[in-house]
């Protein structure tokens, strides 16, 4: 747990630098490994170009251009792609508002709040996707928003 928190705070150090990409990459590595621990390869579609930059360096991640082909989707602001089919996939968001707004669809996410890195996982959606997070990630689980 301390490792995760430390990682979150380390991220802040490189917010406006190239180093941020590296930290973002490491946080997503932790999140994706926790969500799909058995998968050797994860197909990801992401909305934010900066997030794509971070993700492309993760060895087990394959960036896909179409949301339908992805195992995991990371949306930033635009929720128009959240169709019922998409909602059956693991959807993460980089906006708290969006997570709250589409909580029946979005599993959780990683976002910046008051200059601090924050992570949220919605408990009901974890059940829906039969995901059991490792112990060090449990602190980020929220039963309701």
């Amino acid at each position: 747990m301390i490792r995760i928190i430390s990682l979150l705070f380390l991220t802040a150090l490189f917010v406006y630098s190239e180093g941020m990409i590296q930290i973002q990459k490491e946080i997503y590595t932790q999140i994706l490994s926790a969500l799909l621990p058995k998968r050797r390869s994860i197909k990801i579609w992401a909305q934010n170009p900066r997030t794509l930059l971070a993700l492309q360096n993760i060895p087990f991640v394959h960036i896909v251009s179409k949301p339908q082909k992805a195992d995991v989707l990371i949306i930033y602001k635009d929720n128009r792609i959240l169709s019922p089919q998409i909602c059956n996939k693991i959807v993460l968001s980089e906006s708290y508002r969006l997570i709250k707004q589409k909580k029946e669809c979005i599993l959780g996410g990683f976002f910046w709040h008051k200059g601090r890195p924050n992570i949220i996982f919605l408990e009901q959606n974890l059940y829906k996707h039969h995901i059991r997070l490792p112990k060090e990630m449990e602190q980020f689980i929220e039963d309701e928003l």
């Binding site: 301390i2 928190i5 705070f9 380390l10 917010v15 709040h113 008051k114 200059g115 949220i120 602190q139």
Partner: protein, 618 residues
């Protein structure tokens, strides 16, 4: 080089000074930040207190804040509105949080104008926030890693001595950035100076390295790799030669090697001998190629015995070395002169000249030798080197002692004989220690002129009769003669008090000239004596050729008259001869009463010697 060292030190000191200034500027920035943080947090405490006051006024109780605020959205809006009035660009986030049963911090109120948290929204914060629940005191957290935040001020809301919530006020890093940018010109200036001085230091170091390289080349003999004369000049200026023994080496018959085998082989011999010198001397010793085949060594002082052993070792090394040219082999030898006492010389150049003189003696006495003092090549043990004599004369070390000459019959002093001496501190040198070395040199002329001046001054002072020893060479020397004649012509009263004792140590050449000049002197009243008659070039015909008034019998004969019948007969005959031609006789070296008794019996009128008096000041 000394100046260069000072410049380098000065530059280094400046560099250190600027470096301190540079780092101090950074420290000042940190200190200012800290002070500013202290001021800000002091004020923020009152802000937190005011918020607490506001909550007390607006809420029925501070107990169970989540429950109270959850059930009253209108109150939350009102309080959020109130908190937002406190929000400024300096502290953009003002909010109230509580800690739930899982240890998560969640919003109760948020007055932030942007990035506002919802009621009960989780906020991931540093674990350090938990400290407020333990200490129940305000806490300041400085953000070193968060780019947008500078500090967070945490103010606990207490009820029943329990922390019910925390008022959090985040300060923007913008304010700190302003401070940093205000200090930037100073930082840039000191960094610029630091860079310039560092650059200058590097340039100077580079220049020094080039200078040292060039200097080394300029003071090194390209053929042998030894120091050259340029180095020697600096060495003699900078170092104290007294700390060294001075060695002068010379390769024997080097010209023959050059003539026989050619210059290329000559160079090979020079290089080899130079290497042998280096191999047989210590690192602290200095070797200079002084001339063509001449080397100069400055060997750090240890003991004279050791110095001589070193010289012998080098001499043998050269002697035993087999020089090879193609299939042919040949050997050479080395002569060495050592000045073991350079401290006795006022000038370094003179100490070197003395070593050269000793080297010359080694050469004259057969070569392949080490000569370290003149007695090792000549019979005199106490002979002073020419350079030393010159120094002593120039430094006023020349003086005269006067030995009285007695009338044996009346037992009264009739005159004095001036005897020249050289003095160095407490040491007195006698004529046989310095005259032989300078005879026929200009230094000898200088010595004679000085002695004449001293004697004439003494006659003037005391009005006593004084005799002075001069050689035939002095009489023929125009400078000496005309100076004397001129002085005595102007002061005739001195002439009658002066007796010239002619030293019979050399053959009488230029008889006519000497006779003429002695007659001229006699005409103005000067008396003439022949000294040490009975030895040397003594010849009775001298009395026909020169105007002699006094005859001084050789002291060696006089000393023996009491026990040697032949000496007695010779002295008797000389006395008789003097009486017959009307010349006064003086016996020298009268050392005891027995001699005096014999002299009385022979009929000698005048005598001098230790029995009467040793030479003293007058």
């Amino acid at each position: 080089m000394k100046n260069l060292r000072w410049y380098l030190l000065l530059l280094l000191a400046t560099f250190i000074g600027v470096a301190i200034l540079f780092f101090q500027t950074s420290k000042t920035e940190q200190q200012l930040s800290l002070n500013l943080q202290r001021i800000v947090t002091d004020h923020t405490f009152f802000l937190g207190k005011n918020i607490e006051e506001l909550l007390r006024q607006k809420l029925p109780s501070l107990h169970d804040l989540p429950h109270i605020l959850k059930s009253n959205p209108k109150l939350r809006r009102e309080l959020n509105q109130a908190l937002s009035l406190l929000s400024t660009p300096t502290f953009p986030y003002v909010y109230l949080v509580y800690k739930d049963h899982r240890g998560h911090f969640r919003y109760l109120l948020d007055g932030s104008k942007e990035d506002r948290g919802d009621f009960n929204q989780k906020i991931d914060v540093s674990p350090r926030w938990n400290a407020v629940f333990q200490t129940k005191k305000p806490l300041v957290i400085t953000h070193h890693k968060l780019q947008t935040l500078w500090i967070t001020y945490l103010y606990p809301i207490l009820f029943d001595n329990k922390v019910q919530g925390i008022v959090a006020i985040d300060f923007s890093s913008h304010f700190l950035k302003l401070l940093h940018s205000a200090l930037k010109p100073l930082k840039y200036l000191s960094a610029f100076i630091f860079a310039i001085v560092s650059f200058l230091l590097l340039v100077v170091i580079f220049q020094i390295l080039i200078y040292l390289k060039t200097k080394k080349e300029s003071v090194t003999d390209s053929l042998t790799g030894l120091y050259n004369r340029t180095f020697l000049r600096h060495f003699l200026d900078d170092r104290n030669i007294e700390d060294y023994y001075v060695f002068m080496f010379d390769i024997d018959h080097f010209k023959s090697i050059n003539d026989t085998y050619g210059h290329k082989v000559g160079d090979y011999v020079l290089q080899t001998v130079a290497n042998l010198l280096k191999q047989n001397l210590r690192g602290e010793d200095i070797i200079v190629r002084y001339g063509g085949e001449e080397f100069l060594g400055f060997i750090k002082k240890s003991s004279p015995k050791n110095a001589i052993a070193i010289a012998e070792r080098i001499r043998k090394a050269v002697e035993n070395y087999r020089f090879k040219i193609n299939d042919h082999e040949f050997t050479t030898t080395l002569s060495v002169g050592i000045n073991l006492h350079p401290e006795r010389f006022k000038k370094s150049a003179n100490a070197l000249k003395y070593a050269d003189e000793l080297l010359y003696m080694a050469k004259r006495s057969g070569r392949n030798k080490v000569v370290y003092q003149k007695e090792s090549a000549t019979t005199s043990l106490q002979t002073l080197p020419t350079i030393k004599i010159k120094e002593l004369i120039e430094d006023g070390g020349l003086f005269c002692q006067f030995q009285p000459i007695f009338d044996i019959q009346t037992q009264k002093i009739v005159k004095y004989e001036a005897l020249v001496r050289l003095k160095e501190k407490t040491t007195i040198y006698y004529p046989n220690q310095f005259v032989p070395n300078i005879q026929f040199t200009t230094l000898y002329t200088l010595l004679t002129q000085n002695v004449l001046r001293i004697v004439l001054d003494k006659i003037k002072q005391t009005n006593k009769d004084i005799s002075i020893n001069l050689s035939f060479f002095d009489i023929t020397d125009n400078k000496i003669y005309y100076n004397l004649l001129s002085t005595l012509t102007q002061q005739k009263e001195l002439a009658s008090k002066l007796t010239i004792e002619l030293l019979e140590t050399e053959a009488l050449d230029h008889k006519e000239l000497i006779a003429q000049r002695l007659h001229e002197l006699k005409d103005i009243g000067v008396h003439t004596a022949i000294d040490n008659f009975g030895s040397g070039y003594s010849n009775f015909t001298i009395f026909q050729e020169l105007p002699i008034d006094i005859l001084k019998i050789d002291g060696k004969l006089v000393k023996m008259i009491s026990h040697d019948p032949i000496a007695h007969s010779i002295v008797t005959a000389i006395t008789q001869f003097g009486n017959n031609i009307g010349v006064e006789t003086i016996a020298k070296f009268v050392e005891n009463e027995e001699i005096l008794h014999s002299l009385k019996k022979i009929g000698i009128r005048y005598a001098q010697g230790f029995y009467f008096s040793k030479p003293t000041d007058l």
